[in-house]
Amino acid sequence: MDFALTEEHKMIRESARAFVEAELMPYEDEVEKTGEVRPELLEQIKQKSIENGFYAANMPAELGGGGLDALSVTILEQELSRTSMALQYAVARPSGILMACNEEQRERYLLPAIRGEKVDCLAMTEPDAGSDVRSMKATAVKDGDHWVINGTKHFISHADVSDFVILFVATGEEDTPRGKKKLITAFLVDMGTPGFEVAPGYESVSHRGYHNCILNFDNCRVHETQILGEVHKGFAVANEWLAGTRLQVAAMCLGRCERAIEVASEWAATRKQFGQPIGKNQGVSFKLADMLTEFKCAELMTYYASWKLDQGTMTDSDAAMAKLKATEALAMISDEAIQILGGMGLMNELPLERIWRDHRVERIWDGTSEIQRHIISRAMLRPLEQ
C-alpha cells in the first residue's frame, strides 16, 4: 500500500493553489455581492487558465486537454474549489460525456470545448423528474432525418453562458420486469436553435454568480447527426460520466472543507475569550479534531475512488460513498466552523458564510445523499437476494 502522492501530484496542487489565490480569490467578494461574474472577468480567467493549462485539464492530452489521471483531476478540483463555484467554474472542465462524440461532432463540439471556444452544459433534470430521472417528460420524436424536441428542463447550471447543451430526452419506451421504462437519447443542441429558449432559473441560496436556468423546447427540430451516441442509448453515454461527476462533487467538497478548517483553526488559535485562546477549551478543540478527522476520511475515500478509476476498477458504489462522505463532511465542517467563530462566522467578511450557504446543494445535486445510499446498499444487497 502506498499513500504517497507523486511529485507531479504535489506540483499540480501547489501550482493550482497559487493560481487560485492569485487569479480567482481576489474576485470572491465582488461575485458574492453582485451575484454575477462579469463577462470580461470570465474571459480573463478563461484566458489565464488556458495559458496555464488548467482549462479542460480533465480531457485527454492528445485532444489538447491536460491529460491528467483521475487522481490529478481530483487534486486539481480540490484546489479550484477553495474559491467559489462561480469563479471555479470559469476554469472550465468540459463534460467527459463529450468523449462520446463521433468524428464530425468532435470537430464541432468536443475540440472547441477543449480549446475554450465553446462552452457546454448538461440538461437532464425536469420539474417532475429529479432523482427519478427516467420519468422525464421531455421528448424527441423522429420526423424524417430530423427529431422534434418538446419539453422543459430546469436547474440547468451555467446554461446562460453556454454555447450548446448535452440534452437528455425520452425517445420511446421499453418493457422491463419492473414495468414500462422510458428510453433516453442524448442530443447536442446549439443555443439559438429555433424552438429552443434559455430562460433564467431560480434565485438559489447556494453558488451566487453561478446560475441555474430553465430550458424550454417547443417543436425544436434538430438533425439526426446531433445525436450523441446511439438512439435510445443516452444512459450508456451518461453512466460513466455520472460516476466521474460524483467524484468531482466529492473533490469540490474537499477544497471547501480545507478552507473552512483553516479559517476555524486560525480563529480558535488567536481569538481570546476569558483570557485565553478559545482553542484551549475542549468544547472548541474537540470540534476541530472531529472536523479534521471527517475531512481526512472524506479525502481518503475520494482519493481512493479516484485511484480506482485510474486502475479501471472503480464501482458506482465507490463514487457514491466518496460523494456521500465528502458532502456530509462539508455539511458538518462548515456548520461547526461557524459555531467556532460565533457571530463573526455569519458575516461576509470571511468565506465561511458562503461555504456554509454553498454546501447545501452538494448533498442534493448529482444524486442526493439518499440516492447515493441507495446505490451503495443496492450493491450490498443485490448479490444476496434469493
Binding site: 506540483m11 501547489e14 495559458e51
Partner: protein
Amino acid sequence: MKVLVPVKRVVDYNVKVRVKADQSGVETANVKMSMNPFDEIAVEEAIRMKEAGKADEIVAVSIGAAQAQETLRTALAMGADRAILIETDELVEPLAVAKLLKAVMDEENPGIVLLGKQAIDDDSNQTAQMLGALTGWPQATFVSNIELGDGSLEATREVDSGLETIKVNMPAVVSVDLRLNEPRYASLPNIMKAKKKPLDTKSAADYGVDVTPRLKTIKVAEPEARSGGVIVGSVAELVDKLKNEAKVL
C-alpha cells in the same frame, strides 16, 4: 548562453516557524517545504532570458537532502532544462555551498549564475558573494533589474540609499532581490514535461568538497515575546514616561 540557477529547499514562507524542543534547530518534520522565494525569482529571470532568446539552457542545482529533488522538479516545471542534485544530509554552510557551486560551474561553464540574495531559513546572504570571490567573477548583488548587454550586464541594485546601477562584465554572479520579477506558477503541461527532464544526483565527494560544518550551533531559541504597548493619554504623559520610565530623554 547557459544560466546556472542554484535553488534551496526551505521551510515554506507561510509556515510559522517553531523551534525544536531540544533547541537544536527549527522544526522541519511534517512542515511544508518549498523553494526559497528569492531562488524562485532567479529561476523566473532565467526563464525570461531564455524566452527572450538571450539564454539557451537553464541548469538548476540544489544542495541538500534527497527531498530537494522536489524543489528541482519545481524549477524544471517552471521551465529549467535540467537539474543537478548534490545530495547530502549535512547542514551545508554558505562557504561549502559556494565551493560546490564553483565545482559545478567548472564543469558547466555557465555565462551567468543567478541566485536568490539569501535563503529565508538562515538568512545568511553570503553564498553569492563567496561564489564571486572564489571564482573571481564580477558580482552584482540585491538586483532588482537586469539589462543584458554584449559581454556585460547592467544591474540595478537595491541599496540603503536607493537604487544603484552598475555595469559588470560577463560571466557574472548575480543575486536577485524581491522586486526583480513575479515568478510564474508552473503550468500543467510543464509539470507533466518536468517528469521527463534530466535530473542528475551527485554527492559532495564527487566534487571533492568537504562540507563538514565549521560552525557549531549551541542552541536555537525563539526571540523573546514582545510585551504589549501602552496607550498614553497625552503628550505630557508620554514625555514623562520617556523621561522617568524609559529614561531616554
